[in-house]
Subunit: 248 residues, 2 copies
């Protein structure tokens, strides 16, 4: 049990101990743990501390807790993974290239049904007034990502005062509306004529398409379509074993 790195607190050590018992297979899925009070005396801690341990293990998905029944080792699944969605500029910088952004088009208009489709949004009743942008992110001299974006002017009217040939809309929005939440759809598409041309690819080249819908509260802030050359880009999703029907 030589643990080197983390702050060695009581409950941290207990958590690791129990987690190991589960991960290494000594406690199989379905195994019932002793009750809080007993585990507490066994580890020589107060019940509050033991509760903290078990609560955290439940949050992590390793155990399931049911009142009146007890605590059980959960059925594990490699089911959810954490996906890093980074700022494109940082992403390029991390690859050791110089980053630049070129604005191709900027237009104030009402969103058409075609726009909605292009941005992967289901049909909406109201066609809001938006700022419609298109531009390219470069890594060195190579196109790295084609961005098409609509910004909801009802929510972010200040966007009209911005000069997006200088500021990158994604970063600006991130700083302006910092607590937005987003939904991503990821798929593979063959680059169509104009997209391929802009990205300097042969027509039909496989691209990774990310559709991002950003909301704040119940209002949508921006829709973005990010198109990456398939060979130049990949997403890394780190594991995480998690139980079946668990929350966070």
């Amino acid at each position: 049990m030589d643990s080197a790195r983390p702050t060695e607190t009581l409950h941290t050590k207990i958590i690791e101990d129990i987690r190991n018992k589960i991960v290494e297979g000594h406690w199989k899925p379905g195994h019932q743990l002793a009750k809080e009070t007993e585990l507490a005396t066994r580890y020589g801690v107060a019940r509050m501390t033991m509760n903290k341990v078990l609560t955290q293990l439940a949050q992590e998905g390793y155990v399931t807790r049911r009142k009146r029944s007890g605590t059980f080792v959960a059925q594990a699944r490699v089911q959810s993974a954490v996906l890093e969605i980074n700022n494109i500029g940082e992403e390029v910088a991390a690859l050791g290239h110089s980053y630049s952004w070129t604005l191709l088009n900027s237009e104030r208009r009402r969103m058409s049904q075609a726009d909605l489709r292009a941005l992967g949004v289901g049909r909406k009743v109201v066609e809001e007034e938006v700022l419609y942008l298109q531009g390219i992110h470069f890594a060195g001299n190579n196109p790295f990502c084609l961005e098409t974006r609509a910004i909801n002017l009802d929510v972010v009217p200040t966007a009209l005062q911005m000069n997006f040939s200088k500021d990158v809309p994604g970063s600006w929005l991130l700083n302006t509306m910092p607590w937005s939440t987003a939904r991503h759809q990821i798929r593979a598409v063959n680059a169509s004529g104009r997209d391929a041309q802009l990205l300097d690819l042969p027509t039909g080249a496989a691209c990774l398409e990310i559709l991002r819908k950003t909301k704040i509260g119940t209002n949508w802030v921006t829709y973005a379509r990010l198109l990456y050359p398939g060979e130049a880009h990949q997403l890394i999703a780190e594991f995480e074993p998690r139980a079946a029907g668990e929350a966070p």
Copy 2:
């Protein structure tokens, strides 16, 4: 889903209160919160309760805590998202199609450098003995996913006794080694001749390629390459605002 329901506990209500203050912009990033003891008296609770509140908000990424300095509203970023990586059979069933699996090839052999490359693995010194499988997942009568997989026979020797034309290797492994962890790489590729043929696609069709490396402890269990027709499949990643340098 906005929940109105959940058990209204003291600290839950306080958490929501503070979270709202942050999300709605009353407390901007960088804003310093009052200290624990003061917030505790202000909300009329014990410090332990307030500590639980602030600890959870820090875990969620809304605030950053520094000893001796205090608690601050974090700089938020839509930076990580939770990506559901489901069992393929369940995935197909969820779409309302009947699911089936066809094994194309099963072979016990040493992994070659070509195999490693095909599975997206960097070069390894030892070329372990593996069970090398290839098969297709069907949704109805249509190919849904082409799977190429190597199973480490040192870790899972029982795989040799299985009949993978009947059992789906991914599901079987999930049940056998429930607490493994995985790493996923996601990218877009143009389907090459043989892959395209197996998936019943024109050559060059965009496909979503998922490379999955599964480990248990320090040993690798299985490498899998899952190739989905681009149009037929997409991944959904649900949001999650999170602070810059925070640990989940």
